[in-house]
């Protein structure tokens, strides 16, 4: 069953066309990595799927619903890039931040005790139960990222969108984040779409890869994805990717 369907998407920032005629169908329960060089339009694609940006042309549906319905139903969980500047020093504890996730979907009508139960469960899931009383701004980058994933999951989404979840995170913490996302995908069946600079890890953990570069797009199984193969077909693409590594 199709979870995300992008059809003939066109998006530009002023005169700068970033996406042209982009069509994608991402299956329910898949783990998709979106990769590409800087400025390729990776985050733009994610923001279009999340409904943060509106494309100039084309349609987006989430499980057959339009974005407005999908957002109201809490189908989408979103973890942005660079939220760190907002939460550094933010006077809220981990559990307060995770509880905000219950504002989404059906959980928005849950009682206070149910919300506390959800927070407990989510913190257990991401392995942050012992730091629940700590202030979010005092945590390491990896811990903050796990907390933000827990917040996104507290709305019980079917689709989890993550923009560079391992940026600014050390090697060990980034491996744990990938492992966590893999578990969420396998055990809970959450469809994961993740923008990543770390091509090697992204390919290792995902089952589908979307490789984009300003309007051009490769979409396929991560097992079939081969940079050398891509090099022979699209030299420009490889040059861009090499720059990222």
């Amino acid at each position: 069953m199709c979870m995300v369907n992008l059809s003939n998407i066109r998006f530009s920032y002023g005169d700068d066309v970033v996406l042209e005629n982009l069509s994608l169908a991402i299956d329910q329960g898949s783990f998709t990595a979106v990769i590409g060089p800087n400025g390729a339009g990776k985050s733009t694609v994610l923001k279009i799927i999340a409904g943060i940006l509106t494309p100039q042309a084309g349609t987006v549906t989430i499980r057959g619903k339009n974005l407005r319905e999908a957002r109201y139903d809490g189908l989408i969980g979103y973890v942005p890039q660079n939220y760190g500047k907002n939460i550094s020093g933010f006077p809220a504890t981990v559990e307060e931040v995770v509880k905000l996730g219950t504002l989404a979907g059906l959980n928005r009508k849950c009682s206070k005790s149910a919300a506390c139960h959800i927070v407990d469960h989510m913190l257990q899931l991401v392995g942050c139960k012992e730091i629940r009383k700590k202030r979010i701004g005092e945590l390491s980058g990896g811990q903050q990222q796990r907390v933000m994933v827990a917040r996104a999951l507290a709305g019980n989404p079917e689709l989890l969108l993550l923009d560079e979840p391992t940026s600014g995170v050390d090697y060990e913490a980034s491996a744990k984040i990938y492992e966590l996302l893999g578990q969420l995908n396998c055990n809970l069946g959450v469809t994961v779409i993740m923008v990543s600079h770390d091509i090697e890890k992204a390919i290792k953990w995902s089952d589908k890869v979307v490789c984009i570069n300003r309007g051009l797009c490769f979409f396929g199984d991560s097992n079939d994805f081969n940079i050398t193969h891509l090099q022979s077909r699209h030299r420009w693409f490889y040059a861009g990717l090499q720059g990222e590594n």
């Binding site: 923001k47 999340a50 409904g51 943060i52 957002r71 109201y72 809490g74 989408i76 969980g77 979103y78 973890v79 942005p80 939220y83 907002n86 939460i87 933010f90 006077p91 809220a92 504890t93 307060e96 931040v97 509880k99 905000l100 996730g101 504002l103 989404a104 979907g105 928005r108 009383k133 202030r135 917040r151 996104a152 709305g155 969108l161």
Partner: protein
């Protein structure tokens, strides 16, 4: 406790306590949204509203309320338009407000004592009508914050995340701007236009040093604000000095005391761990 026998002091106490409770409610969100100077900007627009209202024969507080709400909506619209320079709209409205206030004050025959009372606060001279207006506005602001508490917190963390969660970010930001304007006018009566922002920000800054949860910081800020108002009113009564300034100085004093305590505790912790007291080069 002889001061409690006077009617004017009782009114001042009620007005002061309402403002003390409501200002940090808004203030905590103003601080985490990095809009700490919005109280100043709106305060100057409120001054234009006072003088403008007087010019056309309105009750000054009503004039201030109308123009400040209009200004707050304008600032929010500018913030949305210029997302990279969010404080630009505030600066423009700040300057426009003070410019209008100067023009209106030269056009009107409002006595300078009246103008000064709005600039520096006149809590000891608040009327029963003022107290009623402050109570109504304060209750409205508290109700809005109660119902939007979680959504405002999520918006402060990340507007995009809030919108994906299904929160109507534009509407809530607009409601928050309007309610901030209302609180500025409430605070204006108590500590004056020049100090209203301080009553919103300083107790929150002091409570922030306690490293509590968001809710804990909010409660501590309200408590610090109440203590500042009570101490400020009593001290100003006995020393016959300006109550508005005294209230703010009390809040700043609490902030400074907490800051010193915090630094001492940090040094003690460092010392007990046997770490060097000076920074490494």
């Amino acid at each position: 406790m002889e001061f409690l026998q006077y009617d004017f002091f009782q009114r001042a106490l009620v007005a002061g306590l309402i403002a003390a409770l409501v200002c940090p409610l808004i203030g905590i969100f103003v601080v985490v949204r990095r809009q700490s100077l919005i109280g100043d900007g709106l305060g100057h627009i409120a001054f234009a509203g006072v003088t403008g209202g007087y010019l056309i024969g309105w009750y000054p507080v009503v004039g201030a309320l109308v123009l400040t709400v209009v200004g707050a909506i304008g600032i929010e619209l500018m913030r949305r338009r210029h997302t990279q320079y969010t404080d630009m709209g505030l600066a423009i409205f700040f300057y426009a407000g003070i410019a209008m206030a100067i023009i209106f004050s030269t056009m009107t025959k409002m006595p300078s004592a009246g103008l000064l009372s709005f600039l520096f606060g006149s809590i000891m001279t608040v009327t029963t009508t003022d107290v009623t207006l402050i109570a109504i506005s304060g209750t409205m602001a508290a109700a809005v914050i109660y119902f939007l508490y979680n959504k405002l917190m999520l918006i402060a963390i990340d507007e995009d995340v809030a919108s994906v969660t299904g929160v109507n970010v534009s509407l809530i930001n607009m409601a928050f701007s309007v309610i901030t304007a209302v609180v500025v006018v409430v605070g204006m009566t108590v500590v004056g236009i020049l100090l209203v922002s301080a009553l919103m920000v300083v107790p929150v800054a002091a409570a922030y040093l306690l490293r509590l949860s968001f809710k804990g910081t909010l409660i501590a800020a309200a408590a610090i604000s109440v203590v500042s108002v009570l101490m400020g009113l009593i001290i100003s009564f006995y020393l016959d000095i300006a109550p508005g300034g005294t209230i703010v100085i009390m809040a700043v004093g609490i902030y400074a005391t907490l800051l010193i305590c915090r630094k001492v505790m940090e040094l003690k912790t460092k010392y007990s761990r046997g770490l060097p007291m000076t920074r490494h080069k």
